[in-house]
């Protein structure tokens, strides 16, 4: 008996030591959730339709190119409203052979229905692959940007039934607006030849004979005064075909323009440099437009042959220039994104929550501890030891499992204090009953533990069942609640049954013929 008792205490000692090791110091070992640390939680949707449309547009341009080359520019070529295909009406004199060849060469990924003209729709498996690819690239790009921005312990994950959602969690971010812009920036850079510039769209069209040439497009840009204030808007007629795009970039960084204002300078990769130097060499004196996200940032005149570098100017703050350089380095998003959900917790609210949660927990703990001493006298000490041990083990378990402590999680711990003591109450009430029936102390303690056990297990298990459903349902903070409640109740079975029993055993073994029990 003595030996068995010793082993019990060794086990309790080891478990407690381990728990303290894993929870101390708490600010390092206990992982706080976003709601307590402050930070930002975003759920974004990648609009994969964009990528599908881009693919269709690409195919349309190729078909147009092939047919025009042979001298049969199509009579009608337009995208279907669903976005995943296009309709083509060839020029009346187009030979069937030419059309067949274009279809064979260019529309492998399309299902082609021929009627008056032809309708080509992307095959479903191709669409699926494009969508999947867009999300994966989006994820990769966002991860790149966040990494370069430098956030400790970011979580970036794909989610959702269709897999087109991305969850981004960034703890400790103090400027959510900036991060949101960084993530969302499409950052699509193009450098295009300028045909003409005019203050209004009408004037622009007039200069090219009232009709937009097929190979050109109109893009707007801001007009700035010398101090960088926006004073108006002007319109550029640009060639559709880019000289280089963001894909040709090797790197980008913040720099200064000739006036000392923040700007972004970039260098091109070898491929891009070849194209760029050939173009600039041949067009000295012409203007080229630096277009970012379909807006002209600047349109410098080409003064000389440029090989592989350039600069983007125009009304940046230092931070703005740095962020643009960052997203240019990290790459463009393949599709636009929408924020479905945003939860930002400022650091001061998080800190306040921790302080108040701890205070409420402490008040609750003290009330329970005092009541138990008052009501159960000596045995109350026993229950209180079990209760405090429960709290220590619970924190240790949170440390071991690397579970995240959230504000509802703290509420779960506090609630566990109330519910954990239930097991002790059940046992003590039972022991009292047995004593009243005239049993000896030894017998009463044995029976008390034995008979209360089934009630303890059943009652705790039912609570744990509901906690499991909560976990299933859970979004971040609530999961933390389900976790602490479940762990807490499981531990309470150990502390209230095993530890309390061990304390009673020590009492009983000290004096073999104990006739009264302080309970």
């Amino acid at each position: 008996m003595q030996r068995k008792l010793m082993w019990r205490w060794v086990l309790i000692g080891v478990v407690t030591a381990a728990a303290i090791f894993f929870m101390w110091p708490a600010d390092k070992k206990i992982h706080l959730g976003l709601d307590l640390r402050g930070g930002i939680h975003l759920v974004l949707q990648v609009n994969t339709q964009d990528a599908v449309r881009a693919e269709v547009d690409d195919a349309m341009e190729r078909v147009r190119g092939d047919l025009s080359e042979k001298g049969f520019a199509p009579a009608l070529l337009q995208r279907l409203s669903a976005g995943d295909g296009f309709e083509l009406r060839p020029a009346p004199n187009t030979p069937a052979k030419t059309l067949d060849k274009v279809i064979d060469d260019r529309l492998l990924e399309f299902k082609v229905d021929r009627g008056v003209g032809l309708t080509a729709t992307l095959r479903p498996e191709v669409t699926r692959a494009i969508r999947d690819m867009a999300v994966r690239q989006g994820l990769e790009t966002i991860r790149n940007r966040i990494d370069q921005f430098g956030v400790a312990e970011p979580l970036i994950q794909r989610q959702g039934i269709e897999g087109d959602r991305i969850v981004v969690q960034l703890p400790g971010v103090d400027d959510p607006a900036r991060v949101k812009d960084l993530i969302r920036a499409t950052a699509f850079l193009e450098i295009k030849p300028v045909v003409t510039v005019a203050p209004t769209q009408e004037a622009l069209l007039a200069s090219s004979g009232g009709k937009l040439p097929e190979d050109s497009e109109i893009v707007s840009g801001d007009v700035e005064d010398l101090e960088g204030r926006i004073t108006g808007r002007e319109y550029y007629l640009l060639k559709k075909a880019s000289v280089v795009t963001g894909r040709d970039l090797r790197t980008a960084r913040r720099s200064q323009d000739t006036y000392g204002q923040p700007a972004v300078s970039f260098t091109l990769n070898p491929d891009g440099a070849t194209k760029f130097s050939a173009y600039t060499g041949a067009h000295i004196g012409d203007r080229m437009a630096i277009v970012l996200d379909n807006k002209v940032r600047s349109a410098p005149v080409i003064r000389g042959h440029i090989s592989d570098s350039g600069i983007i100017e125009g009304n940046f703050t230092v931070q703005g220039a740095e962020d643009l350089a960052l997203v240019l380095r990290a790459g463009a998003l393949p599709a636009s994104i929408t924020y479905l959900e945003e939860r930002t917790v400022g650091p001061s609210l998080g800190r306040d929550s921790v302080i108040r949660g701890l205070r409420a927990g402490l008040v609750g703990l003290v009330l329970v501890v005092v009541f138990m001493l008052f009501y159960y006298k000596g045995a109350g000490i026993n229950a209180d030891v079990a209760l405090i041990l429960n709290a220590v083990l619970l924190l240790g378990a949170i440390g071991v499992f690397k579970a995240t402590l959230t504000l509802p999680g703290i509420a779960g711990i506090i609630l566990t204090i109330g519910m954990a003591v239930d097991s002790n109450v059940l046992i003590f009430e039972r022991i009292r009953e047995e004593l009243r029936l005239g049993k000896t102390v030894r017998n009463a303690v044995d029976l008390g533990f034995q008979r209360a056990l089934s009630a303890i297990i059943d009652s705790n298990l039912t609570t744990i069942i509901s906690a499991l459903f909560l976990f299933q349902f859970g979004t971040g903070p609530i999961k933390g609640f389900a976790v602490t409640l479940t762990i807490g109740l499981t531990i309470s079975m150990f502390t209230a049954v095993f530890v309390s029993r061990s304390i009673f055993e020590v009492l009983l073994s000290r004096r073999a013929k104990l006739t009264t029990l302080s309970i």
Binding site: L340, S353, S454, F469, Q472, F473
Partner: protein, 387 residues
């Protein structure tokens, strides 16, 4: 010390009274839910954008409302968050059917309304990087050198200012900068003259799009439904079918009354509220199970005794445990309600009510229902035999 000395209260004798009272309560709850005032969904389920804003002093609510209504994005509701002297408000924009980044637009609108003075440095709204860059740009300490060099010099000052704001929630004005020891006197003077403190700071921003809100509503009702089902099955397996029914009726009773109280008090239903409801489900069943466990034990010992009497003595024998545990849990929850802060206030509120109702239903409702079902099953068995 003992609260109860071998009580022999006739709980079961008046079972029809309890059932009548509870039925009435439940009908009232149903009325509150379906006729009015009904549920008020929080931002989690209704979708929309909600800012938690701390103002320097009590703000003019009408101004907040007008400035946001001018955005033409949706209806604006304003409610107090936490104690009045903290000047903290929950400002919500109901914009169902739209997805996007609305919190930024709300912030800009509030900024324009409440912070007349424009300045590149806005100490209550910006992060460390922006404050650092602002100081590096102005260079009040005349450090000179490259921009990055100046940045390194002002970085510790900027993070000290932000840490101070983190503790206080809001910087009230230039005088607050005296509390930031890391700040050089030149930088302090520069900020006092040039930076804008503004009238509010943003404590939290939530924006839940309609797709997510709908998703959460579905998940929440599944969670509550399946957890009720899980309880029924568990108790059915561990005890008997009639006890499972008794426990589930008690659970529905508790959940319904809790929901009724929520709709009566007009508290918003959010994710933490669902957590509280599920906890209540677990807690209430816990209480019921303890009594059923005693009935199970007594049934074996007192063979031949009518079930009514067995149940009655089981309830009496567990009464002191029921009262002590519920009382202690209630104490703890009250502590949470009083001291836990605004974020989990509704959570604690639901449990505070729920524990009382759950305890009542465990004692007065679960066993009578189990008895009724038991009698019904018994009768049917007899009828079968006679045939």
């Amino acid at each position: 010390m003992r609260f109860f000395h071998d009580t022999h209260i006739q709980f079961m004798k008046y079972r029809w009274h309890w059932i009548a009272i509870s039925t009435a309560l439940n009908l009232v709850a149903l009325g509150l839910i379906f006729i009015g005032p009904g549920f008020k969904y929080g931002v989690d389920f209704a979708g929309g954008t909600q800012l938690t804003v701390k103002f320097k002093s009590e703000p003019d609510l009408a101004r907040i409302r007008t400035s946001l209504e001018n955005l033409k994005l949706g209806a604006v509701t304003i409610q107090r968050f936490d104690e009045p002297e903290r000047h903290e408000l929950l400002i919500r924009l109901q914009n169902p059917g739209q997805e996007g980044d609305f919190s930024a637009r709300m912030m800009t609108a509030l900024d324009r309304e409440f912070n007349a003075q424009t300045a590149s440095m806005r100490l209550n709204l910006q992060g460390v990087d922006a404050v650092r860059d602002g100081l590096a740009q102005a260079d009040p300490d005349s450090v000179g050198g490259t921009f990055d060099n100046r940045r390194a010099h002002y970085e510790p000052m900027a993070s000290a200012i932000l840490n101070f704001r983190k503790e206080k929630g809001i910087l009230n004005g230039p005088a607050d900068l005296d509390g930031v020891k890391e700040l050089s006197s030149n930088a302090k003077r520069y900020l006092a003259d040039n930076a804008r403190f503004g009238n509010f700071s943003i404590l939290a921003a939530d924006n839940v799009g309609p797709a997510v809100g709908k998703d959460l509503r579905k998940k929440a009702s599944y969670a509550v439904g399946f957890s009720l089902l899980g309880m029924l099955v568990y108790i059915w397996l561990r005890f008997q079918f009639q006890y499972g029914v008794g426990a589930i009726v008690a659970l529905f009773h508790d959940t319904l009354i809790a929901l009724g109280v929520l709709s009566l008090t007009g508290r918003e239903i959010d994710i933490p509220t669902i957590a509280a409801l599920l906890t209540l489900v677990g807690y209430s069943v816990n209480d019921t199970v303890i009594i059923f466990d005693r009935i199970r034990e007594r049934v074996k010992l007192d063979r031949g005794k009518p079930l009514v009497e067995v149940m009655n003595s089981a309830i009496n024998q567990t009464l002191s445990r029921t009262v002590i545990t519920s009382g202690l849990t209630e104490l703890v929850v009250i502590a949470l309600f009083l001291f836990g802060g605004g974020v989990i206030n509704t959570f604690a509120f639901v449990l505070m009510f729920g524990i009382v109702v759950g305890t009542y239903s465990s004692v007065f409702i679960a066993s009578p229902i189990a008895l009724g079902v038991s009698n019904f099953l018994e009768k049917r068995k007899h009828a079968h035999r006679r045939r």
